[in-house]
């Protein structure tokens, strides 16, 4: 019995050697990168290209973030300098050498003079106001 089995086994190994090689052992002619991308797309995952793009965008943001701090500090320095200059110099000079009160005094004086002139002119018998008033009185009474 054992002899018979051995003989069959021998025959089988002989046949197996004659068979063509298994296709699994052969190198596959498939673009693995493309396959990975297709699987990623089908599973709605991010592809390598999109990841690369995202990375580039992140780097860009990171770089711009660096400049953002510097830009902020420069703007802040200018802003504080302007506020400081306004409160410390411009406003003080404005208060110390203010001309508004003198101008206001002159303008008030001028206004009073003009008002006096206007009243004296309106009170004269030949003035337009007097004539109009006289006309109204004549018509009314």
């Amino acid at each position: 019995m054992m002899k018979l089995f051995r003989k069959h086994l021998k025959d089988f190994t002989h046949v197996e050697n004659r068979l063509p090689p298994d296709p699994i052992d052969e190198p596959l002619d498939i673009d693995l990168q493309r396959l990975e991308n297709i699987i990623r797309e089908s599973l709605s995952l991010e592809t390598n290209e999109s990841l690369k793009l995202k990375g580039a965008h992140k780097n860009k943001l990171g770089r711009s973030g660096n400049w953002a701090l510097l830009n902020f500090l420069q703007n802040e320095r200018d802003r504080l300098h302007k506020i400081n200059n306004f409160f410390l110099h411009k406003l003080r000079n404005r208060i110390k050498y203010s001309q508004t009160d003198k101008l206001l005094m002159l303008a008030t004086k001028e206004r009073d003079e003009i008002k006096d002139n206007l009243i004296s002119e309106l009170l004269s018998p030949d003035s337009v106001l007097q004539k109009n008033l006289a006309m109204i009185f004549k018509k009314s009474f």
């Binding site: 973030g65 510097l70 320095r77 504080l80 001028e110 206004r111």
Partner: protein, 166 residues
């Protein structure tokens, strides 16, 4: 850059210490009121107390850096007189998103160049903190009033001159 300050008590001494502890005026801050405190006191009283404390400590909520009060119902809450809460000296906002974007950026370790500018900024900031803003604003209001009076008188003169020409 904004820093949060949470208020747990409605006490004058507590507020005075809080401003010193958090270095108000050296960077922008926003105040949040704890819910326990809001249950105890009306919002109007808390704001009045904060404003009194700021006035006493000679801190201006706008210069050199702003100090905001974050209150979610700021838009609809009204005071005893019926005026909205925004009519206060303390700026009130109802959401963190309403904070000015100018001060919002990612913090990181500064470079040497940035450190040099930062030193200059901190020096200017100290100078600005030393000003007495109440006196300055009183003087500005005085100048403004005088200029308006001058403008009014000039307008009056112009009117009289027009009558005289006729």
């Amino acid at each position: 850059m904004f820093r949060e300050i949470e208020i747990h008590q409605n006490d004058q001494n507590y507020f005075d210490e809080l401003w010193i502890k958090n270095k108000i005026g050296e960077s922008p801050h926003y105040i949040t009121i704890s819910s326990i405190l809001l249950k105890k006191y009306p919002i109007e009283d808390i704001i009045t107390e904060i404003e009194n404390s700021l006035h006493r400590c000679k801190i201006n909520p706008n210069f050199p850096y702003p100090l905001y009060l974050l209150h979610p119902q700021a838009g609809c809450t009204r005071n005893h007189a019926g005026h909205p809460l925004q009519m206060r000296t303390l700026p009130i906002i109802y959401s963190i998103e309403n904070l000015p974007k100018h001060y919002i950026f990612k913090n990181r370790i500064p470079t040497n160049r940035e450190k040099a500018i930062l030193q200059k900024v901190s020096m200017l900031r100290q100078m600005l903190r030393s000003f007495s803003y109440d006196e300055i604003f009183d003087q500005i209001i005085k100048i403004k009033k005088m200029q308006r009076d001058y403008s009014q008188v000039l307008r009056e003169i112009d009117y009289y001159q027009q009558i005289l020409k006729k």
